[in-house]
């Protein structure tokens, strides 16, 4: 057994070293099953229980992935994370145990097994979606895509590559259900969320906006004019925050299902770039 493991280990090393992208467990149903459980433990928090996206991490059942195409890319990403994103390097999130190389290959095997059955069909009209986004939908008043748009809400350039269609639709129809993540600090457990706030300063001025970041004593707010207000809480007359999103709820009478699909198609197209 030890000898076999050694050989397997050499194969792993060889794969990683020369970037051949060969998964030594490719297509092995037992490995896929083990990978499913590893996935639940290590990945499902962001990528969802069935790898179909958890509203945070991308839907990994899509064959077309933003950051990784070959198995070797996936191995590198799981091992090292993606700098500048919430995707951590293996074993570095401080909670739970990291994965062995073998376990990472099991997870890749599992993800590949899920792609087979996944639907990748998009139904919307991306061109019309873009028109809506920058026009009647008023999305770009607060959201930026590829450098164009507002700053009060999250930049949506990459959202199509990192969120499922369902998650995007939910965010449009019911933006308060899951507030978007904002600033992530390296050693902090939870990222800031896009909470709404109404603050009244000592001189009676009312400030309405979203929270960029907050601690027990200070808060940074962006208002609808994209002004940043840096406030000390003990100097405020009142401070009230809410988990009711600053983004309006787009009911079907405002945006039809078709129009929402069009916007999602536009975002998905940009995000896939």
């Amino acid at each position: 057994m030890a000898g076999r493991m050694w050989v397997v280990g050499v194969v792993f090393l060889a794969c990683v070293a020369n970037g051949l992208g060969q998964n030594p467990l490719a297509g092995d149903p037992k490995a896929a099953k083990a990978g499913e459980y590893e996935f639940r433990i290590n990945c499902a928090l962001c990528h969802g229980l069935g790898a179909r996206g958890g509203g945070r991490g991308p839907d990994l059942t899509r064959a077309q992935k933003k950051h990784a195409h070959a198995d070797s890319d996936m191995f590198q990403i799981i091992s090292n994370g993606i700098p500048g994103t919430a995707m951590p390097a293996n074993g570095t999130n401080g909670q739970g145990v990291g994965m062995t190389d073998e376990e990472i290959w099991q997870i890749i095997t599992y993800i590949r097994s899920q792609e087979v059955t996944a639907s990748t069909k998009t139904t919307g009209d991306a061109v019309h979606g873009k028109t809506l986004f920058y026009g009647d939908g008023n999305c770009s008043m607060c959201h930026m895509v590829e450098g164009k748009g507002g700053r009060m809400g999250p930049d949506l350039t990459g959202v199509g590559g990192s969120r499922t269609r369902e998650a995007m639709i939910e965010s449009i129809r019911n933006p308060s259900r899951r507030l978007a993540w904002g600033l992530t600090e390296a050693t902090k457990e939870f990222p800031q969320e896009y909470e709404s706030v109404i603050a009244v300063t000592a001189d009676g001025k009312q400030l309405k906006g979203v929270i960029l970041n907050e601690d027990s004593f200070s808060v940074q707010i962006m208002d609808s004019g994209e002004h940043i207000h840096l406030l000390q809480k003990d100097k405020l007359k009142s401070f009230k925050k809410s988990r009711e999103s600053a983004m309006p709820k787009y009911d079907p009478d405002v945006l039809s299902d078709k129009e929402v699909e069009d916007i999602v198609a536009f975002l998905a197209g940009v995000g896939a770039k």
């Binding site: 083990a34 499913e36 459980y37 590893e38 639940r40 433990i41 499902a44 928090l45 229980l49 509203g55 074993g91 570095t92 401080g94 909670q95 739970g96 145990v97 990291g98 994965m99 062995t100 376990e103 259900r177 899951r178 507030l179 600090e185 390296a186 050693t187 902090k188 457990e189 939870f190 969320e193 907050e214 601690d215 027990s216 004593f217 988990r243």
Partner: protein, 620 residues
């Protein structure tokens, strides 16, 4: 003057050289400072002076700030240059003042050359300038009698020094301070000794760790033990090592277990008598947990107590089949000790696999339990199990705090499962169990008063929400008991998790959870608190809500203060009575450690690790 110096000599000072006063750091004393009573800061009580306006600090009002306490020339200069005229005016006060100075110099001289003995550890509260065990005393109360920093002056606290450890990740260490030297640890089993006044390093040590260690939850370490001329470190590759307090050189190094099977040490050891007690980590890898005691001089193992009983031992029948062999029950947080009964109180962690009960039917003793062990032999005196047959990773590895109240000898433990337990420490009998956070897992109690899990609290394949989540209402973060307010302060969180089964076979050195858990979106936002609990009733008397849950421990002091940190990087001084913040400082990194207090040269400091650094604070 000669007679006065003679008085000093009576207290053991024989080195005074009055002809060489140069080089002393002197400041003009304030009149109010001289008028302060000569009570040392550890003589707490209602009449003790609040020294908020005394620039000299509370240790010895007659000695100027910045004075080198061991330097008798400075003492003489202080007497001559600043006290002399007042001395001449008021002879009786003079004599008292000099006597205090003499005691100070004598104490400091003695202490500087003294080693940490078991007797000193037993009587640690009598030298509050030092912090000689993980929780500050064997009781685990994490209470400092120092009161120079108090509710009246905390608002003026300033940072004194910062030591950058050059490590990345979480710092969970509680520093020790003995006679002006601070000893602490950082990631990857770094240890170091610093000048506690300046933060400048005296020595640094870093373990050469194997490349294939896989510690569960960060490459962390929670601190050292000190005894004699050695400090003791448990390492991530499951060794116990002794370092020379003067050089950091390795004196001995013993292997406790094989790291390749998931064993590691993250705990701060506890020095008791002439032995070093330490508990293993590895509940995520299916280790068989144990608590060890090593001879402090030689490193020879004196005893090992397996927290999962083997065949023929009581409790073995609480495990299904062979499951005991990989039963977990690690012991990864520092226990407490009662010298009166020679009992160690050491808590244990989850059974393995941590989130799947299938295959290990039974109570799974002694997982999630408090063990009362004879310190000489490691023999079990009694046990109390907080969570039977745990399926939610609710390690009971919280500091069991010894409290004497109402003529009773108690242990209070705010458990990860969301209940605050008070236990009679003479026999392990449960006195009360009261929820102190959001819990959904239990609706009933057994005949002993212990909360019992609902049938539907178990994880399911599709996922099932339970409160608290796997991280618990609290976790390893050290609580404090303040004998002045009579309250128990603990960091708590309200978070619920979805528990979803993910069966895994045991494989040596591989993760062995049996379930996945992740925060329930429905339960957002997750709330973090500092709570003040009355141990007599279990009632939460005060609470402060943090912006988000924090992993910071808590310290209480004789100054009527409680100190804690937050996930946003603040270090906060609270009024112990109201939990109103009186002061805060932004340290630039989240807190995963517990604060402690010490004094050098009569000046009180409060220290905490945050981000990658150790911070100390004091009065201006």
């Amino acid at each position: 003057m000669s007679t006065r110096i003679l008085r000093l000599k009576e207290y053991g000072v024989i080195c005074c050289l009055p002809q060489q006063p140069s080089g002393c750091l002197l400041e003009q004393p304030r009149k109010s400072g001289l008028a302060q009573a000569s009570t040392p800061p550890w003589k707490s009580g209602a009449s003790a002076p609040r020294q908020s306006t005394n620039k000299f600090g509370g240790f010895s009002p007659g000695i100027p700030r910045g004075l080198k306490a061991f330097d008798c020339r400075c003492v003489y200069a202080a007497l001559k240059g600043h006290l002399f005229h007042e001395l001449a005016r008021a002879g009786k006060i003079v004599a008292d003042r000099i006597q205090v100075c003499g005691i100070l110099v004598w104490v400091m001289t003695f202490a500087a050359h003294g080693q940490v003995t078991f007797e000193r550890l037993v009587n640690s509260t009598k030298e509050p300038q030092n912090w000689m065990t993980y929780s500050g005393s064997y009781s685990g109360q994490r209470f400092s009698k120092l009161e120079q920093i108090n509710t009246g002056n905390a608002h003026s606290m300033v940072a004194k020094w910062v030591y950058q450890t050059a490590a990345t990740g979480k710092l969970e260490t509680t520093p020790l301070v003995v006679d002006g030297i601070l000893y602490a640890t950082a990631q990857d089993d770094r240890a170091f000794a610093l000048d506690a006044r300046t933060g400048r390093p005296i020595w640094m040590y870093q373990r050469q760790l194997p490349g294939d260690i896989r510690p569960c939850c960060g490459r962390v370490n929670r601190g050292l033990a000190i005894l004699g001329d050695k400090v003791f470190l448990g390492t991530l590759d499951a060794h116990v090592i002794a370092l020379d307090t003067k050089t950091g050189a390795v004196v001995w190094d013993v292997t406790a277990a094989d790291y390749r099977t998931g064993h590691s040490f993250t705990v701060a050891p506890l020095a008791v008598k002439n032995e070093i007690v330490i508990g293993i980590s590895g509940g995520e890898y299916g280790v068989r947990g144990f608590i060890d005691a090593y001879d402090a001089e030689t490193g020879a193992r004196k005893w090992r107590y397996y927290t999962v009983p083997g065949p023929g031992e009581p409790g073995h029948d609480t495990w299904e089949g062979e499951s005991w062999k990989v039963g977990g029950a690690p012991a990864w947080n520092t226990g407490t000790y009662d010298p009166a009964t020679n009992l160690l109180f050491w808590p244990t962690g989850n059974p393995s696999p941590s989130n799947r009960g299938e295959g290990r039917a039974g109570d799974n003793l002694y997982s999630n339990s408090l063990l009362a062990l004879n310190a000489d032999t490691g023999k079990l005196n009694w046990h109390f199990q907080f969570t039977k047959h745990d399926e939610h990773d609710w390690d009971a590895t919280q500091v069991p705090v010894l409290i004497d109240a109402g003529g009773k000898k108690l242990i209070a433990q705010a458990d990860r499962n969301g209940y605050f337990y008070v236990i009679d420490r003479t026999n392990g009998k449960l006195l009360s169990a009261t929820p102190y956070g959001k819990t959904t897992w239990s609706d009933s109690k057994d005949t002993e008063g212990r909360p019992v899990a609902n049938k539907n609290a178990s994880p399911t394949l599709e996922g099932h929400t339970v409160c608290p989540g796997a991280l618990g209402t609290t976790n390893f973060m050290a609580p404090t008991y303040d004998p002045q307010s009579g309250l128990f302060y603990v960091t708590a969180r309200d978070q619920c998790d979805i528990f979803s089964t993910a069966p895994q076979p045991y494989e040596a050195g591989h993760a062995f959870y049996g379930s996945a858990y992740f925060p329930s979106e429905e339960a957002r936002p997750y709330l973090g608190f500092l709570k003040a609990i009355d141990p007599a009733t279990g009632e939460t008397k005060q609470r402060f809500q943090h912006t988000s849950p924090t992993w910071s421990g808590v310290l209480s002091t004789g100054g009527g203060l409680v100190f804690s940190g937050d996930a946003e990087g603040n270090f906060i001084a609270f009024d112990a009575a109201t939990l109103k913040p009186l002061w805060h400082f932004q340290m630039g990194g989240a807190v995963y450690a517990a604060p402690m207090a010490f004094a050098v040269d009569g000046r009180e400091y409060v220290a905490i690790a945050a981000g990658s650094a150790i911070y100390t604070f004091g009065l201006p």
